[in-house]
Amino acid sequence: MTPDAIVPNRVAKPATPKVGGFALSNKHREWIAGYLFVLPDAIGLLIFVGAPMILSLSLGFFSVSGFGGYAFVGLDNYRRMLGDPLFWQSLRVTILYIVMLVPALYVVGLGLALLIQADTRFNGFVRSLLFMPQTVSLVVVALVWQVLLIDKIGLLNQFTSALGLGAFSWLGDPRFALIAVVVISVWFLMGFYMLIFLGGLQDIPKEYYEAAKIDGAGPIASFYLITLPLLRPTSFFVLLVSTVTAVCGSQTFDLVYVMTRGGPANTTSLAIFYVYQQAFLFNEYGYAAAMASVLVVVLMLITVLMFMLTRGGRFTYE
């Protein structure tokens, strides 16, 4: 389609429609249009994201009954938090989860992207298969993995038994449960990070590699000297997004809720799940909000940091 086909080629005429007797200048018409266009989303985001953010910072100072009665309790919820071993446990689990998940996603995502970097039909097929887990809901993911990891008769246990290693209670043993959640999270999320890395890799000019090859650099040298440095913006984006995902991605709730309910021995009680438990199982809305506010503050700091480091959400070098 050419531009001429879209824009009717008429003679320009000054447009000054009258609104209630006032003649609006073009500039003001543009202002009004701009505000009206932004309005629905601005109001919606204000009510359903902005207000909850602000509320989450203030709700923690109240005790909220299940029927909507509020009583100001000052710092009680925060004091209680400091003395709650399960809160500390959930923080510990969250940090462990971040420490395992973020590097795993980086390595797996980049590794897969490098493996299927060339734009061939075969690689397109492999990409699609690797991304496929991401299109399935986390509830289904949790159910399928629960079946695969089930005690004694699950497929993985039949496999380890056949190898003579014996059977394990993958989701019921405090040693394995969190690792299992990490592995399942990686399996679910890897396709996304692979594609982000693929986008980054394809932005690196091919000439650099050719020049390096002429200079006698092998594949490993050119990976360290060209790929990694030029991938810095992508790497930064991936580390940021995967950290946020590890703190509060939907998998932190869905997988834990369906598979382990925080057990065994609270070893999979991620902070997001503990907040949910306090709020919706024990009706401790105020206390839950106080804990969530800590996470909101952390996320806001990360956002500000990202904004400063990327000059307004632009991840490319100028």
């Binding site: 879209i6 492999v126 990202m306």
Partner: protein
């Protein structure tokens, strides 16, 4: 291409072949490992309860009984319809709102525009789980508990869609709509008859992503509905799993029914989905 360079190319290809073959093989093995759990789900959903934990991928006595059981024991059609209705409605409204906002933020000049964009961008990383408690309390006081509006309205707004559309509109040549504005067309008409048709590729990519996200969402429907008639499909299978604890052939059949629409959507639109994600990260 000269004869010499062709021969040269063939030689280098031949040298590459074993290495390339190994890479292909590794890729293929990883890809099949990635989808194996899904095949396993499919396989179990066609197995009888006797052989559901057998290690054979192809059922010895394939049966449709599990699916029949799921659809007759629970009101699965209703949950599927609820989910479709909510996901489709959210997607359509969200695309309309986000494209308007994205267009204005990219193109129209008005005081405070950049401030508005920055404020919206600040909510970018705030995911629903982290604000679920205040969001629930707010939605409850707005009368959104246990009705379709409660499932739909809070799910419409997210900065991600606005952000991507704004980026897209920044790249559209300005001359297109400026000619029409001088022409006297109202801004809404410019948006409707010039901008929207231009954005068909990105809108269809976003439509798929939004629909998938809503079809798969669990936490919000779980929190905002207790009336079983309003259940969305993910809530239904999570509860089904508790009800039929141990009957994994039924649970896998229910899971297959829930996963199949999204998998089918992915297979049909895979190119578009993959392209849109590949370029979404960093541009």
């Amino acid at each position: 291409m000269s004869e010499a360079s062709r021969i040269e190319r063939q030689i280098s290809l031949a040298a590459l072949r074993p290495a390339r073959l190994i890479l292909h093989l590794v890729g293929l093995i990883l890809a099949f490992m990635a989808v194996a759990p899904l095949f396993w789900m499919l396989s179990m959903s066609f197995k009888t309860s006797d052989e559901v934990f057998g290690i054979n991928l192809i059922p010895n006595h394939p049966t449709l009984g599990n699916f029949l059981y799921v659809f007759t024991q629970v009101d699965f059609f209703r949950y599927l319809w609820n989910t479709f209705f909510v996901s489709a409605t959210v997607t359509v409204i969200a695309l309309f709102f986000h494209s308007m906002a994205g267009y204005a933020l990219a193109r129209l000049r008005f005081p405070g525009r950049d401030m508005i964009f920055l404020t919206m961008f600040a909510t970018f990383l705030i995911s629903q789980p982290v604000i679920i408690v205040p969001l629930f309390i707010l939605a409850r006081s707005l009368g959104l508990l246990d009705n379709y509006a409660g499932l739909i309205v809070p799910s419409i707004f997210n900065a991600f869609g606005i952000f991507l559309l704004r980026q897209f509109y920044l790249a559209v040549p300005r001359e297109l709509e400026e000619a029409a504005v001088i022409d006297g067309a109202g801004y809404f008409r410019v948006y409707w008859s010039i901008i929207l048709p231009l954005s068909r590729p990105i809108l269809s990519a976003l439509a798929i992503l939004f629909f998938l996200a809503n079809w798969n969402s669990f936490l919000w429907p779980l929190t905002i509905t207790s009336d079983q008639k309003l259940w969305m499909v993910q809530v239904a299978i999570a509860s089904f799993r508790q009800q039929y604890n141990g009957s994994w052939n039924y649970i896998m059949a229910a899971s297959t029914v829930v996963a199949l629409p999204t998998l089918a959507m992915f297979v049909v639109f895979q190119k578009r989905i993959i392209e849109s994600i590949k370029t979404s990260g960093i541009k």
